[in-house]
Structure formats: structure tokens, C-alpha cells
């Protein structure tokens, strides 16, 4: 940064001598006879100084941009690192779109300010030096030339301030257009089905008109300020020409000095304009950096405690010991003294109505959230005392909404261990019942999946997610409603896989379909954060009316979802 500023100052320090040399050459060598030696000196000096100053200018530009890109890159990296550390609690609240805007727009604003710092310092120096030169040559003429110029600065700032809100609004107008286009294309069946082409087109026309109006408004603002910025220096020139002309005639200054004055004024225009702009830019960058630092300063609630221990080997017993938990300080507690023991190797199905706390229960084990009281223990060790990395390595979760990365099938399965041997990946896929459809993909295990890759059906995605968990070979496996996005009549395809995986492994299954539930050795019915009943599936069906009720409700919802999915799947390929 200092190098950049130094290069910038050198640049302006050298540059300001060129008009003087030019004026001197005109006066000494043209107006007053023929002096080859002095002429050679002037021309040579202009050439040398020109070379020096332009070299400095190149360095200034390079260094300034280098530093500000480095700042932007570092900030983005720090932002990403912190976002990765922040816990579920934070991400539950944060909106992806907002975070993206911080990473793109806000960082750009900061970058632009950084870029402008060296040139601004150089510009300030230019203004000061040029002013001094002008005043030294002839202080009256100097004042005359300079008096117009502060207005340029003020105008430039006012311009930037006036333009900014309008151009922001314009951005919004433009994104409104893309909303209409996107909605129309996504909802094209509704549009075509009801013949809504006309009204959609009117919608778009209205928004296109709005964009037009906004740009014309912007043009009016520019049409007001831009000419002022051009006319004011020109008036300066006029004043210099008139008054300076008289001074020349009165032999108070020489003709070359007049040309020099003109060149100096030209040299002042850009610095003064950009000084006005940087004030406005700085205001924006400050607002942006406040938003960015909100992200950088957010602290994860879940992190390794000082002196966190490694997880010692164990058979995989999970114990909830008087657990209390609420999602927020003010909110209702989800659990208020929950006790539950899952024996090593046991498989337990957790069943409950929406909001009963079953997903929360599962998410407390890998410490996605921090308990408010009591403790969650893995093999007798409180999860809060363990290294987070160790804990999560030992507990694998398969989520309801499977997320696949834009990577190959193999990389998605080997997510927990990117270096895993291909045989292990293949075996995990076999166990998850995914190998047969993977073989049919265009590039087999090398097929790229994810949002920007090949799209799989819900059941296929789920099996990849299962394979991902199998490869991690966890001590405790949690299936968080992992089969619900698979149609009931296709669920049997992954049921065998589940049975395989659950054998001899502590497993907690959150489920609502009888077929899945019955895979577990024991069922726990959760109702409003309490364990309402426990037993085998058949026992509970026979004895517990609340259990039957919960299952019936779930089945109704399930039917609804299946219907919806069937329709969505029925798109010609």
C-alpha cells in the first residue's frame, strides 16, 4: 500500500513539471530567438520526466489494484472461513441471498475505495503542487484560475450522491424484470394453461417502462451535473485567457506561461472530480464494511472449549441426561429435562408429530446446537467437552433434504474422507443400494451431480447420502427423516440398505412410515418434548392410541407429498 502511495506521489510530483517545461520552451526558444542548447534541454527534460512519470503511473496503478484485490480476496476468504464455523443457529436465521450480496456487492464497494486511495493521495498532491505553481507564477492569475475549481469538487460530490440512490433503484427495477421472466418460465404451465401470455407480457412491459423511466431520470441528473463539470473548467480557461492575455500584453507574464496555465488547469480537472467522487464512495464503503464486519464478528456458539478432549474409543452409547433446550432465550423450551439412553449397537426409531422435538433430539447428539441444561453423552463423555471434529467424525447424519455437491458421484460419497480408496466407495454404494443406478449414469462414478450437474431422483439422492454416511463408518448413525423424500412405494428399494447399515451400529432413525419404523429394535414416541411411550412398533400400535394417531396424521401428509412429487416428476425428459 505504501509503495503504491509512494509511486503515486512520485508520479504527480514529476508530472507537474511538464507544463512548466513546455511553457518555458515556448518562452525561451520560440518567443525570444533561437537557442538550440536550451531547446534540446527542454525537449529532453520533457521526454525524460515523461518517461519517469509514466513508469511511476504504471507502478501506482499496479500496486494500488494489487493491494485492493488482495484486501478483497482476504476479506472474502475470512468471511467464508467464519461462515463455515458458524453454527446451525446462525444459518437457520441467515438468508443465503443476503450473504451472497455481502460477498459480492459489499466487498466490491470496499475494493473500489481501496483502489482509489493511492490515486487520491497523488491527486491531492497534484492539486497542492499545481496551486502553488500557479500562485508563484502570478498570484492574481493563479487565484483566478483556482477560484472556479472548488466548485468542480463540490459538484462532483453532489453528483455522486444524487446518482447513487437512483442507480440502486435502477438495479432493483432491472432485477424485477428478471423476476417476471424467471417466474413466467418456471410457471409456464400455468401461463399456457390459462392463456396468461397477454397479462404476463403486460407485466413485463410495465417493468420495462419503469426501467426506461428510471434511466431517463438518471440521464436528467447526469445531464445536469456532467455539463457543469465540463463548463466550469472551461470558464476558468476563459478567465485565464482574458486576464492572462492582458498580462502578456502588459509584459507582466510571457506567452508560454499562459499556455502553461492552460495545461495546469487541464491537469486539475480530473483530480478535483475524483476527489469529489471518493467522498461519496467512502460513505458507501463504510456502510458496506459495517455489513461485512457483522459477518466477520459473529461468533459461533458451538466451538471447541479450551482443553477439549479427544474422543476415546467406545461401543457407541448415547445418553440424554436431563437435557433442557430452547432455540432462543425467549422461546418455549423444546426439552425440559429429557432422559434417554440408547445402548451400544441398538437401533431406536424416534416417532412424533411435527414439532414434537424429534429432529432437535437428533441434532443435539453431534452438537449442532448447544444444550441449555443437562448433558448429551457419547460413551460417557459430554459432547461439549469433546473436540468438535472428533465428535462429528464419530456421529454421521443423513438429513431429510439431501444435499449433493457439484462434484462427481465418487467425491460425493467420499465426502467424509476425500482420499478414500475406490473399493471403499464402491462398497458403500453397494451397501446403500446405489451401485446399480450409478452404473447406468452417463459417466458412472465420475458423473458430476449437484445443482449444476446431473439431477437424480429423490430416492437416488437419498441413497447417495446414505452411502456418504456409510463410508464415514460412524459410531453412531442418525437418519433424520432420511427416507421421507422417497415415495412410499419406492421406499422398499432402500429399506434393505438401511437394514444392512443398522446392524450392530447404534442408530437413531427419525421416521413416520411403519415399514421404516419396524426396522428399529425399539420405538420411542416423542410428544411435546417428552417421551410419551416406548416399546416395539407392534406393542405401541396395540397399546398406544396417541401413537396410532401420530402415524395416521403422518400418513396423510405423506400421501399429499407423494402426489405432489409424482406430478413434478412427470416431466418429459
Amino acid at each position: 500500500m505504501f509503495l503504491g502511495v509512494g509511486a503515486g506521489m512520485l508520479w504527480s510530483g514529476i508530472r507537474v513539471f511538464i507544463p512548466t517545461l513546455t511553457g518555458g520552451a515556448i518562452d525561451k526558444d520560440m518567443a525570444n530567438g533561437w537557442h538550440p542548447a536550451s531547446l534540446l534541454f527542454y525537449a529532453g527534460a520533457i521526454l525524460v520526466l515523461g518517461a519517469l512519470s509514466s513508469t511511476c503511473s504504471g507502478f501506482r496503478r499496479y500496486l494500488a489494484f494489487k493491494v485492493s484485490y488482495a484486501v478483497e480476496t482476504d476479506l472474502r476468504q475470512a468471511m467464508f472461513a467464519n461462515l463455515q464455523e458458524l453454527d446451525f443457529q446462525y444459518h437457520d436465521r441467515a438468508q443465503t441471498g443476503q450473504l451472497m450480496a455481502r460477498a459480492a456487492t459489499d466487498l466490491q464497494q470496499i475494493n473500489q475505495l481501496c483502489t482509489m486511495i493511492p490515486i487520491t493521495i497523488a491527486n491531492l498532491l497534484t492539486v497542492v503542487l499545481v496551486s502553488v505553481f500557479l500562485l508563484v507564477i502570478d498570484w492574481k492569475l493563479g487565484l483566478l484560475a483556482l477560484c472556479c475549481l472548488p466548485i468542480v469538487n463540490v459538484t462532483a460530490k453532489a453528483f455522486s450522491t444524487r446518482v447513487h440512490p437512483v442507480s440502486m433503484a435502477l438495479q432493483q427495477d432491472i432485477s424485477n424484470i428478471s423476476t417476471v421472466v424467471e417466474e413466467t418460465v418456471t410457471g409456464i404451465r400455468a401461463v399456457k394453461g390459462f392463456g396468461a401470455e397477454g397479462s404476463q407480457h403486460r407485466q413485463l412491459s410495465g417493468r420495462a417502462d419503469r426501467v426506461y423511466d428510471r434511466i431517463v431520470h438518471l440521464a436528467r441528473i447526469r445531464g445536469l451535473f456532467q455539463p457543469m463539470l465540463d463548463v466550469i473548467p472551461a470558464i476558468s480557461m476563459v478567465a485565464v485567457l482574458a486576464y492572462g492575455g492582458f498580462l502578456v500584453i502588459d509584459h507582466r507574464i510571457q506567452v508560454g506561461q499562459l499556455v502553461e496555465f492552460n495545461l495546469f488547469i487541464t491537469m486539475l480537472i480530473n483530480p478535483l472530480r475524483s476527489l469529489g467522487q471518493i467522498i461519496a464512495q467512502a460513505q458507501r464503503a463504510v456502510a458496506s464494511s459495517e455489513r461485512v464486519s457483522q459477518i466477520l464478528d459473529a461468533l459461533p456458539e458451538v466451538a471447541d472449549r479450551p482443553g477439549a478432549r479427544s474422543l476415546s474409543p467406545g461401543p457407541g452409547e448415547v445418553r440424554f441426561d436431563g437435557v433442557r433446550f430452547a432455540y432462543s432465550k425467549e422461546g418455549n423450551p423444546i426439552f425440559d429435562g429429557l432422559d434417554l439412553v440408547v445402548a451400544p449397537g441398538e437401533s431406536v426409531a424416534v416417532v412424533g408429530a411435527t414439532g414434537s422435538g424429534k429432529t432437535t433430539l437428533a441434532r443435539l447428539i453431534p452438537r449442532f446446537y448447544e444444550v441449555d441444561g443437562g448433558g448429551v453423552l457419547l460413551d460417557g463423555q459430554d459432547v461439549r467437552d469433546l473436540k468438535v471434529a472428533d465428535l462429528r467424525r464419530a456421529v454421521a447424519v443423513v438429513f431429510e433434504d439431501t444435499f449433493l455437491f457439484t462434484e462427481t458421484v465418487a467425491a460425493n460419497i467420499a465426502f467424509a474422507e476425500p482420499g478414500a480408496a475406490f473399493e471403499r466407495i464402491e462398497r458403500a454404494a453397494q451397501l446403500a443400494g446405489a451401485d446399480s443406478f450409478i452404473a447406468e449414469l452417463p459417466d458412472g462414478y465420475d458423473t458430476v451431480l449437484g445443482e449444476r450437474g446431473f439431477s437424480l431422483s429423490g430416492g437416488q439422492r437419498q441413497r447417495i447420502a446414505l452411502a456418504r454416511a456409510i463410508l464415514a463408518d460412524p459410531r453412531v448413525l442418525i437418519l433424520d427423516d432420511a427416507t421421507s423424500s422417497v415415495d412410499a412405494n419406492k421406499e422398499h428399494e432402500i429399506r434393505d440398505a438401511l437394514r444392512q447399515v443398522m446392524t450392530d451400529r447404534t442408530t437413531i432413525v427419525i421416521a413416520h412410515r411403519p415399514a421404516t419404523i419396524s426396522l428399529a429394535q425399539r420405538v420411542v414416541l416423542l410428544d411435546e418434548g417428552r417421551i410419551a411411550a416406548t416399546g416395539t412398533h407392534d406393542e405401541l400400535v396395540a397399546t398406544c392410541s396417541r401413537y396410532r394417531e401420530v402415524l395416521a396424521q403422518a400418513a396423510a401428509l405423506d400421501a399429499a407429498r407423494t402426489e405432489l412429487r409424482n406430478e413434478l416428476d412427470e416431466v418429459p425428459s
Binding site: F65, A101, V181, Y212, V216, A219, V248
Partner: protein, 634 residues
């Protein structure tokens, strides 16, 4: 760069192959663009005239200074009147420059933007006119970027291109002429300095365009990596993969930095050349100019004017290289837009199309269909069915068997490859679009909602419909009260994809659209069951009201729906295998009967309903879906 400002689509900036255009193509694109500009001709010429005026006033400054020095300030010819007159003329020129500049800014924007506004509307109208098969093929993101990224690229051209072209071109030409006239000798010497800068500019232009595309591509990659990590954050944390994700991101972030730095290097090399050329030219003009003054071949005023003119000579060269990139980028954008505009709708209105009659029989006659033209594998093969006015036909069959396709052909979303679909004796292919839409409405399964109020969503097909008419439609299907009960009634804004309305309410909106359209034929993707229990009965009632007195084709996912229809058609493997009343088909002992037996068997043993019996023929039906007392009343 405007695309970065927010809103949807972070990865839209990605560089596509089509971003490169060759010379022959560029010619065609320019011609076509000028044709499209024709309606804006008057405005364009006016803007052009103002631009020329503005440029002339800009050049006038140094000329006046030069004149004043030559005729009022050269030793021996001192003349105060010349100085005063020059200053006054300069003042007038300066003020008119301001006025002309204001006019130029506003005019250029008005002309350019009205062209772009027209283009936006035209492109969108064209998108709307395209057929379903086009939307099946095309990705949403690509279509959206035609209307956003590409038009933004043109925006840059319109905003800067024309001004740069005229002012720089004129300045350059004007300055050359003036210099040549003032002092041909000095002019020739000055020109010696120019070749290096021309070469440097061309090189910079070429390299910086590549660098710019590369930077854009890198930015979009970084952002999409970030987006993916944020969306998948829970999986990342669950498997403790924060570090490898971070490393992955750092790679992309670093690549973006490198791309930016490369672009900076290019400009840090180029701009000093420009600056140095300026000084070098000044040195040459001073040195040689003094010689000429000594030889009495030129005057001090002329030398001064040359020095002051230099900026006008070098700036345009710089600007032109920028313009070239602008033209290239917008050329690529136009090429993609034209590509879209040249896509013909596969279903279109014939010249002399007629109105569909008010009432009539819906006849599908020996229809075959495939989604890709010329493909041998047919989705439907030789299907025929006649549906009488006010008759209800349920289509059943496994997913992908063709029942949805058959329904879509009945609404002319596609044209059959062979055979015809007609209503009241008129082939749909010979009917006007508007009359097809008026007579035949399709209610999609997913009640898709658009940004806006519930009112606007119901009157989707015609936004000029009055609120009273909308209310009337809501009343017909019995859900006026339900929407009135919402906080802001019909004015309630439904946000993204209708997140504030339940699935049932969304479907009610969809049914209300149909009620408002008041068609003769209703094509329903069965909607009765994808619901929260609360709205189920309401949707049921709405449907019953809606179907009354209309011809109905329903794609049934549940046998209970089929049971209530007048006739049932079993579609499988692209053919209509069975067609008859529920009783007939059950008695017949075919496919339908097997499904029915499986269903009631399930029903008896577990008291449940099996939903998508679409998969039933494959054997694994039901899998013990457990529900007590959830049978739909039938």
C-alpha cells in the same frame, strides 16, 4: 457489471462459447440491429446532430486559445481587442457546449433506452409465443440471462458506445484536419509518435477482452462455490469437512485474484504507454516546433494549439479500443438474443385460423406423439378417444405412461405427430390460440403462484378483470371467505413461490383461475389429495362446483377419483389400453380390474388408501402405508 448488483442468479455471468463472434457474423448482426433501430431513426439522427455539435464545441477551445495567441499575443502584434473577443467567443462556446452536452446525454439515453425497451418486450413476447416443447428443453437460467445479462451488455453499448464512436471519431478526424491545415510539417512530425500507441492499443484491446471475460467467469465461479457451500453448510458441518471446503473456496478465490491481477498488469503496462506518448509528442512538438518558428514556417500560437490538441488525439485512440470491446461484447449478446428470436414456435396459429365453437365433442383421433421430432420412439401411439359434452373421463396409468401427454395434447400444448385433436368438429391446429384457451383450460397440479396479490394471481389470464368478477369466481367455488379471512384479504401478497399460502390454498387459487376463465373443457391434473387435511374438503367442494356442467379430463392418481368419473381410460406404454365405465372395466377383468382389486384388498386389510397406484402394476404397491380411518369418501 450491472448484473452483480443483487437479485437472482449469481452464476449468470458465466462465460459461454457464444461469447465469441467472428467477423462475418458481426456484419450480419450489425445489419440486423440497424433494421431494428429503424423506428427510432428520427431520434437517432437528432441525437447524432447534437453529438456532433457538442464535439465541435469541445474542439473549439484550443483553437480559440491558439487564435488569441497568434493574433493578439505574439510579440509585435499585441491586440487587446482580439484577446477580449476570443475570450467572449470562448465563453459562448463553453456555455453552448454545456447545453449541447445536456441535450446529448438525455437524447442518447432516450433513443437508446427506447430501443432496449422495445427489445425487452419483443424478446419476451417471443419467449411467450414459444411452445411447451421449447420450455421442456431449455434451462430457465439461460432464458433469463437472455433478458438480463445480454440486454445489460447492450445497455453498455447504448450508454457509451454511440457517444464514444461519434465524439472520439469526430475529435480524432477533426483534430487531424485542423493540425494538417495549421502546419502540415509539424503535423507530419507529430504523427510519427502515434504508431506505437496504435499498436499498443490494439494489443491491449485484444488481451484485455480475454482478461475481462476471464475475470467475469472467475467471479461467477467463486460466487457459485460460496452459494453451494452455504446451501450445503449442514452437511459440511455434520461430516466435519469445513477445512476441505475452505481449501476448495480458497482455490477459486485465489483464481479470481489472479485473473484480476492479470487484467491489472495489462492496464498497468498499457496506460503508461499512453502517458508517455503524450509527453514524447509534447517534446517532439516543442523541439521541432521551435525549429519551425525559427525558420518562420509556423507561429508560436500554432505550436501552443498543437500541445493543447494532443489530448484530443490520444484519447480517441484509447477510447476506440474500449469501444471495440464493447461492440464485441454486445455483438455476442445480440447473437444470442437473435438466436432466441429465430427459434420458431413448434405450435403456432395458422393463417386464417377459426374460432372454436361454443360447445361440442372433444375428439382425439388416431393420435401419435413424440417429444422430439423425428424420434422413432413414440410417447403415444395411435390413441383415439371421443369425449361427449359434459362428460367426465379419468385417465389412469403409471407415471410416464403417457396420460399427462395425452391431456396436454387435448389442450394443444403440443401438436400431434400424426392424427388430430378436435373440439366441436374443429381441429385444434386450425383454431385461434385465444379461442382454444377460452374453451379449454388446464389446471396444473402444483398451484404455481406469481409475485403479487391473491387477486392478481386469480386474474392471471387477464389482469384487467375487475375485483367483482374475481370475487364471483371465488364464490362459485366457495372459497371467497377463506381468502377474505387472510390479514389483507385478496390484497395479501404471496411471496416467493407462495410460501405464505398452504398447498391447499395454492390449489384453490389455481381452481379459481379456472373458474374465472369459465371454460367448456377442464383438464385437471388431479389435485384433490396433495393437501393439508384442513383444506382438503374445501378443495374437494371447489372441484365439484368447478366440474359441474363441463367436459372434464382428469389425470387421476387415485382410484376413488376414477370411480366417480363417467368413464375411465387406462393409459400405459403409450396406448389407451382400456376405456369404459368403472363398472365395465372392473367386470372386464383386465388391468383396471387388477388395480381395483389390489386397492380394495389393501383397503380392507389396513383401512388405508393407496395413493399413487401408478406404481402398482410393478408389483410393490402400498408397502404397508399405515393410516387409520383415512379413506377418502367416495
Amino acid at each position: 457489471m450491472r448484473g452483480m448488483g443483487g437479485g437472482p442468479g449469481w452464476s449468470q455471468g458465466a462465460v459461454e462459447d457464444e461469447d465469441r463472434v467472428d467477423a462475418a457474423e458481426a456484419g450480419r448482426i450489425v445489419k440486423r440491429t440497424f433494421r431494428m433501430m429503424r423506428p427510432h431513426r428520427t431520434g437517432m439522427f437528432l441525437a447524432l446532430a447534437v453529438l456532433v455539435g457538442f464535439t465541435l464545441t469541445t474542439v473549439a477551445g484550443p483553437l480559440i486559445v491558439g487564435y488569441a495567441i497568434n493574433h493578439g499575443l505574439t510579440a509585435g502584434h499585441f491586440n487587446k481587442r482580439v484577446v477580449v473577443a476570443s475570450a467572449l467567443v470562448y465563453l459562448v462556446v463553453a456555455v453552448s457546449m454545456g447545453v449541447l452536452e445536456r441535450g446529448q446525454i438525455i437524447l442518447v439515453n432516450k433513443v437508446g433506452e427506447s430501443f432496449l425497451r422495445d427489445l425487452r418486450k419483443r424478446v419476451f413476447r417471443h419467449i411467450l409465443s414459444l411452445s411447451m416443447s421449447f420450455f421442456d428443453r431449455e434451462q430457465t437460467g439461460r432464458l433469463v440471462s437472455r433478458m438480463t445479462t445480454d440486454i445489460d451488455a447492450l445497455e453498455n453499448l447504448v450508454q457509451q458506445g454511440m457517444v464514444i464512436f461519434v465524439t472520439s471519431g469526430l475529435l480524432f478526424a477533426g483534430v487531424i484536419v485542423i493540425m494538417a491545415v495549421l502546419s502540415p510539417l509539424l503535423f507530419v512530425v507529430t504523427m510519427v509518435v502515434l504508431p506505437p500507441i496504435v499498436v499498443a492499443s490494439r494489443k491491449f484491446r485484444r488481451e484485455s477482452n480475454v482478461a475481462y471475460l476471464n475475470v467475469r467467469d472467475r467471479i461467477s465461479q467463486t460466487l457459485s462455490t460460496l452459494q453451494e457451500s452455504l446451501s450445503g453448510i449442514r452437511v459440511v458441518q455434520a461430516f466435519g469437512r469445513e477445512e476441505s471446503q475452505f481449501a476448495h473456496f480458497v482455490d477459486h478465490n485465489q483464481a479470481q485474484y489472479d485473473a484480476n491481477l492479470y487484467a491489472t498488469k495489462l492496464s498497468a503496462r498499457y496506460f503508461p504507454v499512453v502517458e508517455f506518448t503524450n509527453s514524447a509528442a509534447t517534446a517532439v512538438i516543442i523541439g521541432f516546433g521551435a525549429l519551425l518558428v525559427h525558420w518562420h514556417r509556423t507561429s508560436i500560437g500554432t505550436v501552443s494549439a498543437f500541445v493543447l490538441f494532443l489530448a484530443y488525439l490520444i484519447d480517441p485512440i484509447q477510447q476506440f479500443s474500449q469501444l471495440f470491446n464493447l461492440v464485441q461484447q454486445s455483438g455476442a449478446a445480440l447473437k444470442k438474443i437473435f438466436g432466441l428470436m429465430d427459434t420458431e414456435p413448434s405450435v403456432s396459429e395458422r393463417p386464417g385460423a377459426v374460432e372454436l365453437p361454443d360447445k361440442g365433442e372433444l375428439v382425439v383421433d388416431r393420435v401419435s406423439f413424440s417429444y422430439r421430432p423425428g424420434e422413432s420412439e413414440l410417447v403415444l401411439k395411435d390413441v383415439s378417444i371421443r369425449v361427449a359434452p359434459a362428460e367426465r373421463v379419468a385417465l389412469v396409468g403409471p407415471t410416464g405412461a403417457g396420460k399427462s401427454t395425452l391431456a396436454k395434447l387435448m389442450a394443444r400444448f403440443y401438436d400431434p405427430v400424426e392424427g388430430t385433436v378436435s373440439f366441436g368438429g374443429v381441429n385444434l391446429a386450425d383454431a385461434t390460440f385465444s379461442s382454444v384457451r377460452r374453451r379449454i383450460a388446464v389446471v396444473p397440479q402444483e398451484g404455481f403462484l406469481f409475485h403479487g396479490t391473491i387477486l392478481d394471481n386469480v386474474r392471471l389470464a387477464d389482469d384487467t378483470t375487475s375485483e367483482d368478477e374475481v370475487r364471483q369466481a371465488l364464490r362459485t367455488i366457495g372459497c371467497e371467505q377463506r381468502f377474505d379471512a387472510l390479514p389483507e384479504g385478496l390484497q395479501t401478497e404471496v411471496r416467493e413461490r407462495g410460501s405464505r399460502l398452504s398447498a391447499g390454498e395454492r390449489q384453490l387459487v389455481s381452481l379459481a383461475r379456472a373458474a374465472l376463465a369459465n371454460p367448456d373443457v377442464l383438464i385437471l391434473d388431479e389435485a384433490t389429495s396433495s393437501l393439508d387435511p384442513g383444506t382438503e374438503s374445501e378443495v374437494e367442494q371447489a372441484l365439484t362446483a368447478l366440474m359441474a356442467g363441463r367436459t372434464v379430463i382428469v389425470i387421476a392418481h387415485r382410484l376413488s377419483t376414477a370411480e366417480r368419473a363417467d368413464r375411465v381410460g387406462v393409459v400405459d406404454a403409450g396406448g389407451l389400453l382400456e376405456l369404459g365405465t368403472h363398472e365395465e372395466l372392473v367386470a372386464k377383468g383386465g388391468r383396471y380390474s387388477a388395480l381395483y382389486q389390489a386397492w380394495i384388498g389393501q383397503n380392507r386389510s389396513e383401512g388405508s388408501e393407496i395413493e399413487t397406484f401408478g406404481a402398482a402394476p410393478e408389483g410393490g404397491n402400498g408397502q404397508g402405508v399405515m393410516a387409520s380411518g383415512q379413506t377418502t369418501s367416495s
